[in-house]
């Protein structure tokens, strides 16, 4: 199990380990596959996750007509027949636990007990932010998972400086980023809970501002400009894994906030704006209940905040606010992602 805050290198560590161990296994003539799955991308569903793993080996495996349990047996059969070992890395493991609960985790972790004297074909790496999530699981499942924990600490300022300096030559000419700008990037990333990914994105954006201003070097002012425009709470990959209607709904919310200077909008207003966005792209809008569920997910991701009005007005209404994210940046980012999505389909 790998735990740690946002941007502390959990995913990078797991993937690096996957690459290294696959290489090592190949040199020893052992067949091994490392499969990295972002559980949130598969809505935390055991069925969808296992289906993805099976399609690594059989790309045309049918998508329907069986249960998750059957799929688990299929996977083991495939691995046995191909004499292959698989390391399955379950990134954003929190969403898996939340969706499937203890039963599914138990099945995955205790798989080997059902097939004693046979080679262990499936090993797990669980990547999650907060180990507190595991409290939802029963004691026996927890004990299996918690036997081997790597807890990644927030990066220090000096470590962030080292990371940024290591990445710099990949994108910038020598001496293009002065030390004071690197220091400022590290400082800002450190204040964003030591998030290295945030720092790297900030540096990239500062470079774009320097280009736009025809500057030879990335001066601290470029970093400041970048910091005021960046979406700190919402990482780009979190937006990209939203489904089509989540993106459309969020785009509608961003547009509403951009158009009027209100601090809060109502769910009813957001629904109307969403209907307009759906009409623009020719999609049938989702129901009120579904939108309400999306809103709950946005809150969990830290994109929006919601508040249900109490007494004083007739009935109850949901207020939506966008406290941490510039609306125009969010609109731009979603616009790009949707364009890409429509081009692909």
């Amino acid at each position: 199990m790998i735990t740690g805050d946002v941007g502390t290198g959990k995913t990078a560590l797991s993937q690096r380990f996957g690459t290294d161990i696959t290489h090592e296994a190949n040199t020893r003539g052992i067949k091994l596959r490392y499969v990295h799955v972002n559980c949130r991308e598969y809505r935390g569903s055991l069925f969808l996750i296992l289906q993805h793993v099976v399609t690594v080996f059989h790309p045309n495996f049918p998508k329907r007509g069986y249960s998750a349990e059957e799929l688990l047996n299929v996977l083991i059969q495939v691995l046995d027949e191909e004499k292959t070992h698989t390391i399955l890395s379950l990134d954003e493991f929190d969403s898996f636990v939340e969706k499937e609960g203890g039963e599914a985790v138990y099945k995955l972790t205790r798989l080997q007990e059902m097939r004693q004297n046979k080679p262990q074909r499936l090993s797990l790496i669980c990547v999650l932010r907060d180990p507190e999530t595991l409290k939802q699981l029963d004691a026996s499942t927890r004990s299996t998972l918690q036997s081997n924990i790597i807890s990644l600490q927030k990066y220090s300022k000096q470590e962030l400086v080292d990371i940024i300096k290591d990445r710099m030559p990949l994108a910038f000419k020598p001496f293009a980023v002065p030390d004071e700008s690197v220091g400022l990037v590290a400082e800002l990333a450190f204040s964003e809970s030591g998030n290295a990914r945030f720092g790297i994105e900030l540096l990239w954006r500062a470079g774009k501002y320097a280009d736009a201003d025809n500057l030879d070097t990335v001066i601290p002012e470029c970093v400041r400009k970048a910091a005021s425009s960046i979406i700190p709470a919402v990482r780009k990959n979190e937006l990209s894994i939203l489904n089509l209607h989540e993106k459309l709904f969020l785009l509608a919310i961003a547009r509403l906030f951009k158009q009027n200077q209100k601090a809060t909008i109502s769910l009813a207003e957001a629904e109307k704006a969403y209907a307009v966005v759906c009409e623009e792209v020719g999609a049938a809008p989702n129901s009120h209940t579904q939108l309400w569920k999306y809103l709950k997910d946005f809150s969990k991701l830290g994109i929006t905040d919601t508040e249900v009005s109490g007494t004083g007005s007739r009935g109850r209404s949901t207020g939506i606010s966008l406290p941490r994210t510039p609306a125009n940046e969010l609109e731009k980012e979603l616009g790009m992602l949707l364009d890409k999505e429509f081009k692909e389909t």
Partner: protein, 90 residues
């Protein structure tokens, strides 16, 4: 079966072409791509299997068809399709 009987069916030829492109497939997906019913698809797959050109593998309740790797006939059919497709592209 004589070679002319095996290849006289348009559906069987389409099955062989699809399989050449995708590697393996289950009966329902074949039927969907061929736009014919399950029973008819299954019948033609069985004929090709009896001829030793195809083989099937069970994964629980799921049955996937693919070319029979041990069969000289299967290799010959795949070569035929490969050459045909290449010539048509040029």
């Amino acid at each position: 079966m004589n070679v002319e009987d095996v290849f006289s069916s348009r559906l069987r030829m389409k099955i062989l072409k699809i399989l050449y492109a995708v590697g393996e497939l289950n009966v329902s997906d074949f039927a969907r791509r061929l736009k014919v019913n399950y029973a008819s698809t299954s019948k033609h797959l069985k004929i090709l299997e009896e001829e030793g050109i195809l083989q099937h593998k069970m994964f629980g309740r799921i049955c996937l068809y693919r070319y029979n790797e041990q069969s000289a006939k299967a290799k010959a059919v795949q070569t035929l399709i490969e050459v045909w497709e290449k010539q048509n592209k040029n």
